[in-house]
Assembly symmetry: C2
Homo-oligomer: 166 residues x 2
DNA sequence: GGCCGAAATGATACTTTGTTGCAAAAACCC
DNA sequence: GGGTTTTTGCAACAAAGTATCATTTCGGCC
């Protein structure tokens, strides 16, 4: 099953129009507004396609593959070509609005912004992803790369396992 | 260019039969001997295919894709099917003899064994990979996942950037 | 408003990476 | 040697990502 379909099914079964869904969608609204602001500040354009991809990532709150996104953005018919999705994702990642989860071949919206080191705890059971940005990890890592005279560019810190619920 | 071909070309040009190549191949010999011991201890078999894959990873000392390995293992003709390579890699990873670099879609031999937390510094310029197993990182990470009541399984800690040489 | 260069999107084909399912062979155990 | 488990072979397939070039849209400028 595609990731998005799997998520929708779970969500309908387990929650329906649950209370916290409203809180979540409000969160997503705020995040989107802030994303607009960030793009304005960076002098780049959050075009309709890019915005829709970001909206979908925020709404789902789970890692989605590029092809999942293509499907999600074309419920009627006429789906976007893969390259279009990849270009939007590249943009969002450059602007710090999304992350690539390399271990999952998937992408997820940024929920805590303005951190140089982000790690993800990925539940293998329920698919939930917990983005953490602890200062302790940042400083530990900074010390290590400095000791090796390594100049870091991108970081992929992903830990799979079971979350507290599972 | 395939990763293995690129590496070979670089290696021939920059070093030829250089002095430390002997030291490296001795290291690889020892690592292989130890791998045999580990498999015996685990009660699993380091079959010829698995051994050849591991040998190639040790000899190259760089991340190689599954298809690079298939090519490397069939210089004459008759290359192994992808699934055969993937099965060997799965085995080696299970036994802790190799790692998957998810951010590179590639695999690399384990050089420091018996560490629960391994991070890789991956140079985007020369392709060199530095495996580090610092206690500081292990304990920082252990604290974080414990705080989230997360039970970790696999860890993908990969940092791309420029190494001290580049 | 019309024009221009730059940025973004569309269309199409293609490459690379990884998987499924089942059959044959080899190793292990007794 | 016979039965079982493990490993490998084979073929087709699916998923993920990229290359190339044409077309459209946008932003600034006159
Ligand atoms: Mn919910
Ligand atoms: Mn050398
Ligand atoms: Zn879970
Ligand atoms: Zn380098």
């Amino acid at each position: 099953m595609a990731r998005l379909a799997a998520y929708k099914q779970h969500h309908e079964q387990s929650e329906g129009a649950c209370a916290h869904a409203i809180g979540q969608s409000e969160k997503a609204e705020r995040a989107l507004a802030q994303s607009e602001a960030i793009c304005r500040a960076h002098g780049v354009r959050l075009t309709p396609i890019r915005r829709k991809v970001l909206e979908t990532l925020y709404a789902t709150r789970r890692p989605l593959g590029a092809y999942d996104l293509a499907e999600a953005l074309a419920p009627d018919g006429r789906r976007l070509a893969p390259v279009t999705i990849y270009r939007a994702l590249e943009f969002l990642i450059e602007q710090g609005l999304a992350h690539r989860l390399a271990s999952q071949n998937a992408y997820i919206a940024t929920f805590h912004d303005d951190h140089e080191t982000t790690a993800f705890l990925i539940c293998e059971e329920c698919g939930d992803v917990n983005e953490i940005n602890p200062d302790a990890l940042s400083s530990t890592l900074a010390g290590l790369v400095q000791a090796e005279a390594f100049r870091p560019h991108a970081r992929f810190l992903e830990i799979t396992g079971k979350c507290s619920q599972c």
